[in-house]
Structures are given as C-alpha cells and as structure tokens.
Amino acid sequence: MVAGDIAFLVLATVAVASAFGVVTFRNPIYSMLSLILNLLSLAFFFLTLESIFVATIQVLIYAGAVMVLFLFVVTMLTPKGGGISGPDRLRWQWTAGIGLAIILAGGLIISLLNGSIADGAKVAGMNGLSAAVARYGNAQAFGEALFHGFSFPFEVTGVLLVIAVLGAVVLSRRFAHE
C-alpha cells in the first residue's frame, strides 16, 4: 500500500518538524502553535491506527480546549515577543542538551529496531479489541471498556480533577488585602 506509506511519511515529517519548532522557536507563541500542529498530526496518526474516538478527543479536548487555555496564558505572559524569564541558556548548555538528546534517541532507536513485540505478547495481550470494535463500533467499544474493566482508574481521575480545580483557586485567587 503505497498511499499508506506516503501518508505515514508525511505525517511523521510534520510531527517531527513541529516538535522541533516547539523547542527552537524563540517566541513562545510560535512554540505554542507548533505544539498544536504536533497534537493534530498525532490525532491523524491515531486515525491511521484505527481509533477514531481517541483521535476525536485528541482534537476536541487536547488540541482544542487545553491548548486554548495554554495559548491564553502564553499570550497573557508574553508581552512583546519576550519571555517571562531571562535569556535562554548558554551555547554549551545547548550543546550538552543536544548531545544527551542524540544519545537518548540513538539508544532508543537502536533498541526499537532490534526488538519487536513477541508473538507471545500478542497472545497474552489480546483482549478482543478488534472484535469489540467490530461488534460495538469504535466509540462504544471505548466506552464499554472504560465503564467496565477500567472503571476504577477513570473514577480516580475525578480526584485528580478536584485537585486541579483546587490548585487553580489556591494559586491564582488573590484577596483584596494581599
């Protein structure tokens, strides 16, 4: 399937290029827009991996709602293209950071090329995802798993959201006399 390969390569290029954009743009707003592009390219990856529902929430919630909040704060704190802190790190720090990154990437890629999912893992891991998708449809299969086998972690994230709300209140609410 040549079309699939071309799509994959285009998506991979966009994803990696936009990731580079995030870390190299001097203006945080451009970094932000790069990050949104990166999240969208990941959503397309999820589509090629046949999970329409996760791709949808990636676009709606992550690239949409969360990033809008992020963008709002970035524009608020970045007055005239400058950052909220001093100049970026020195040249040797860049070199050291890039060196470490190359070592990390090299190690990861060499291991990933040598290794693969064992057939045993395919047997052990299978819990009928494709059958469930065929039976229920993509979104409903997601929901059935989320509300049955994986209901507990889902419920516990409620605590996480309470903490996040408390954090926003505690850290940003100011009293008149402060």
């Binding site: 190690g107 990861l108 060499i110 291991s111 990933l112 040598n114 290794g115 693969s116 999912i117 064992a118 045993g120 893992a121 395919k122 047997v123 052990a124 891991g125 299978m126 819990n127 009928g128 469930a132 229920y136 299969a141 059935e144 798993a145 049955h148 086998g149 994986f150 209901s151 507990f152 972690p153 516990v156 994230t157 605590v159 996480l160 309470v162 903490i163 996040a164 408390l166 954090g167 209140v169 505690v170 850290l171 609410r173 100011r174 009293f175 006399h177 402060e178």
Partner: protein, 546 residues
C-alpha cells in the same frame, strides 16, 4: 491473573471490590468534608479543620487495621488495586505521616499567614490518598494515576505560600522536574506494556516468567529500555543521586509542615511502587536491573551524606539527609531478597517517625519570614526550650542510627539483609556513609547543648532579615497575620514589621506538641520493642517477594 479470562468489556465490580478500598474511601470522604467545612469556617480560625481531617485519618487507620485482621486480601476492580499486606503496611505509615502532618499544620499555617487554610488541609488529605492508591496499585495504570494525584497535590502545597517567593519557586521547580520524571516513567510503562502485552503487574510477571528473555532480540530490547526509563523516573521521585537536584530547593522552599509530610509520604509511595515493579513484576529480570540500582544506591548513600555534612541550615541538612536515607532504602531494593524487602518496610516505618519529628522541631523554631533554622539558631536551645531541645536530640540520635532508637532498627535490618543477600559491600559502604551521618546529626545536638547564641537573634531579625530579604512576605504577613489585623493599619510596612516580628518566635502550638510527642514516642517504641512491627513487615514481605 484471576482476570485473564474476563473480558474488560463486560466486567462489573461488586461490593467486595469497594470493601477492599475502604480506607481510601474514608480518606476521600474526609478530604471532601474538609473542603465543605471550609465554607462555614471563619477566616483565620480554621485550625479545627485539621481535627476533622485527623478524625478521618483515624477512621481510615481503623479500616486498615480491620482489613489486616480480616486477612482476605486480593485484587479489586479488574486487578487495578489490591489490599495485600504491603499495601496495608504502607497505608499505616502514610496515614501516620499525614496525621502528624495535620497536627503540625494549625500553628504553622496561622503563623505563616497561609490564606487558603481550608484548601491546604484538603490537599494534604488528597495527597495521602494518592500515596495510598500508588502503594496499593496492582496495575501500571493505577501506579501512574496514584503518582500523579500525589504529585499534583504536592506541587500546589509547595507553592501555597503565595506571598513568599521561595515557596512559589519551589512549587515551580518541583512541578517541572517532577513532570519530566513522570514522562520518563510513563514511557517506561508504555514499552513494558508493548513488550509483554499487559499492564497488570501480575500479568507482566507471568509473561516474563514464562517467556525466555534475551537482551538482544525479541521483546528483550524493549524491556531493557523500559527498565532504564522506569528506573530514571523512580529515582527522580525518591530523590536518589544523580536525580536529587530538585530535593534541597523544594524541601527548603515548601512550607515545613508540607516538607515533613512529603519527605516521608512520597518515599513510602515511591519505594513501594518501585518494589512492586522491580521486585515483583520484573523480578525474573533481576540480573539486568540489579547493577543499575547497585550504582544508584552507592552514589546516593555516599553523595547524600557528604552533601548533608556541608550544610549549615538544618532544614537543608535534613533535605540532604533524606537523600542519604533514600540510598539506604535503595540498598534494600538492590539486594532483592524477601528479608531485604522486609528491611525496606521497617526502614520506611522508622524513618517516618524520626524524620517527621526532626522536621517538626525545625517547624516549631521557624520564624514568620521562613528563617531561623540555621545551626546558629539552634545554639543554646537546651536552655531556652529544654523539651524541644530534648526531642530534637532524640530525633538526631535516631537519624544517626543510635541503638535503642528507631533509626538503629531500620539500618540493622537493611544492612543485615544486604549481608545475607550476598551484598556485603553494600552493607560496608552503607555503614561507612552513616559514620559521616553521625557527624552532621550530632553537630546539631552539639549546637543545642554546648554552644551559645552569638548575638541576640530576635533583634537581628527585626532589623534586617525580613524587610530586606522578602519585601512581599513581610508586608503581607503583617497585613494578614492575626496580630496585625486587630490593630488599625496606620503604620508603614517596615514599622509594622519591626513591631510584630520580635514576638514571632511564638509559643509552640499545642497540636504541634502533640505531633512531636507522637513522633518521639514512636521513635523510642520502635527502637526498644520493634518485634511487633518486624513481624508485620515480614508478613507483608511474604505476600510480595517470593
């Protein structure tokens, strides 16, 4: 493995599942109750919320003991959490830590002028809930969610003194570095899942037991990388060298009551999580990960003790001492026998008692501007406040590992297990490193009893310390502090500061005394009659390491 045949698409939890997480449920209810009760609490008089929280903590403790006595442990919620003895043992330590932390809080919160006192108590309880969930996790998902709950709550608690820049910067630093570490841990989890096809710890263990592992091919490379990434993530969380850089700044910048609680609670949760992954799920791969943890243990013991020995600020010294203690605990993990895991649990329990106590004394001495914790401030404490001095001496002797205190018992079991587990060299390095520890812990005792304060410290504070170093802190502390509110705010900020600050070495709050007494009694009891705890730790170790 019980859940292997059940489809995740049809499983439904039942009443027993909820019963198994009863302590967590009680704690959650308490957290939400304090949040609601905050609405009816008058501003500035929120100390009783700590009592509400404490009642809930005691309730959760009772539920934990009942589950232990019931003795029918098992998985719950599709193998997400369990209530085995390791989880219950860890829960008891965590509940003790949060209980003492809550006792330390009312006096301190009032003195530091923390405006969001109600939310403070809620966050503390929810952080403890996250720690309990993490230590009772039997699935990588719950391990991750529990870790994130405790981390998020602690980021906020570290930064909660919004009027003090050091606290906010502590929150910021903790947030960035800890999320960075979480990402590494998560990537490790993803690759583990990819290599074994499972996210449940029992499933991973079954897979690596039944499939031949080679480092160069098949699922081997994936798992080796996963091990490395998870080791990095966990080492960050337990502040092991070389990933300790965040610890001193965060521990010093955060409010001391939070530091006391977090230095103990995160260690318990992270070490139990580490043990569940490395000693249980991936224990067949021991030869692969053992050298890495060996190196980390040695570096952390030596580096932590040497760095701690150079500090003059007692709070910062205790922060580095917690790094050094992470090293001793890492010895227990690197030894990977049942006895060493028992040693780890014992060490965690004893460390909780003495470390909470030590931070508690620092908290009692700390002044409103966050200063007053250097060795010079401890000079002559023996005459100024004999009770506090005696407690500090006790905790310092315990941390140094003196016999008849809790610290000795913890070190004894860890090093003895290391020698029995063919890691004599780790035991020897640990003993030598603790000799350095003896020096800096006893230096505090020396300062307390055998030195005199150089100048009158209270006058120094009033003249230069507060207004120069932290303008916002002093200005708003005078504006929000209980004393200042009673007065008409006519004087200028500096004048107010000079007038209020001399009185700020306030008498130690009753609840703080209670917390210190609890920690002190436990430090002695665990040191003199440790047998009951040792048996419990053994029972717990037997359920996890076979």
């Amino acid at each position: 493995m019980i859940f292997a045949d059940i489809s995740p698409f049809t499983y439904t939890p039942g009443a027993t599942d909820w019963l198994r997480i009863l302590p967590e449920l009680i704690l959650l209810g308490t957290g939400l109750l304090t949040l609601m009760a905050d609405l009816v609490a008058a501003p500035g008089r929120k100390g009783w919320l700590a009592l509400v929280g404490l009642a809930g903590v005691i309730g959760a403790l009772v539920a934990t003991v009942m589950l232990w006595a019931g003795g029918t442990y098992g998985d719950a919620f599709y193998g997400m959490v369990n209530d085995d003895r390791v989880a219950l043992f860890a829960s008891v330590v965590i509940l003790f830590a949060v209980g003492v932390g809550l006792l330390f809080s009312p006096g301190y919160v009032e003195r530091q002028g923390i405006v969001h006192a109600g939310e403070y108590y809620t966050l503390m309880i929810l952080a403890a809930l996250g720690m309990m969930l993490m230590s009772s996790a039997s699935n990588l998902m719950m391990l991750f969610v529990g870790l994130e709950i405790l981390s998020l709550a602690l980021y906020i608690l570290s930064a909660i003194v919004t009027t003090r820049r050091r606290s906010q910067e502590a929150g910021m630093k903790y947030f960035i570095l800890s999320s960075f570490a979480s990402a590494f841990l998560l990537y490790g989890m993803a690759l583990t899942y990819g290599a074994t096809g499972k996210t449940s710890l029992a499933g991973i263990r079954a897979f690596v037991t039944t499939h031949a592992f080679t480092m160069g091919s098949g699922f081997g490379p994936l798992l080796v990388v996963a091990l490395g990434l998870m080791a990095v993530g966990f080492c960050f969380k337990v502040s092991a060298i070389p990933f300790q850089a965040w610890t001193p700044d965060v521990y010093v910048g955060a409010p001391t009551s939070v530091t006391a609680f977090m230095s103990v609670g995160t260690k318990v949760a992270a070490f139990v999580g580490l043990a569940r992954v490395f000693l249980f799920a991936l224990s067949p791969l021991r030869p692969t990960w053992e050298p890495v943890l060996w190196v980390v243990a040695v570096l952390t013991m030596i580096g932590g003790n040497l760095l701690a020995a150079t500090q003059r600020d007692v709070k910062r010294m205790l922060a580095y001492s917690s790094v050094a203690n992470a090293g001793y605990m890492m010895v227990a993990v690197a030894t990977h026998t049942q006895a060493s895991f028992q040693g780890l649990l014992i060490y965690l329990a004893t460390y909780a008692a003495m470390n909470l106590g030590a931070f508690g004394v620092v908290l009692a001495l700390e002044r409103r501007d966050g200063q007053g914790t250097t060795l010079d401030d401890f000079a002559g404490l023996g005459r100024r406040n004999p009770a506090l001095a005696a407690l500090m001496a006790l905790f310092m002797f315990a941390l140094a590992g003196t016999p008849a205190t809790a610290g000795f018992i913890g070190k004894w079991y860890v090093f003895y297990a290391a020698m029995r587990g063919a890691h004599v060299e780790l035991a020897i390095i640990g003993l030598l490193a603790s000799l350095v520890g003896v020096y800096y812990y006893l230096r505090v005792v020396w300062a307390i009893y055998f030195t005199e304060p150089a100048t009158a410290p209270l006058l120094v504070t009033a003249d230069e310390s507060a207004p120069v170093h932290e303008p916002i802190a002093s200005a708003s502390a005078t504006a929000t502090g209980g004393v200042a509110l009673a007065e008409p705010a006519t004087a200028t900020g500096i004048a107010m500061a000079t007038r209020v600050l001399p009185a700020e070495r306030a008498p130690v709050h009753l609840a703080t005394w209670l917390g210190l007494a609890l920690a002190g009694v436990l430090t002695l009891v665990l040191g003199i009659v440790p047998m009951l705890m040792v048996d419990w730790a053994l029972a717990a170790a037997q359920t996890l390491v076979k």
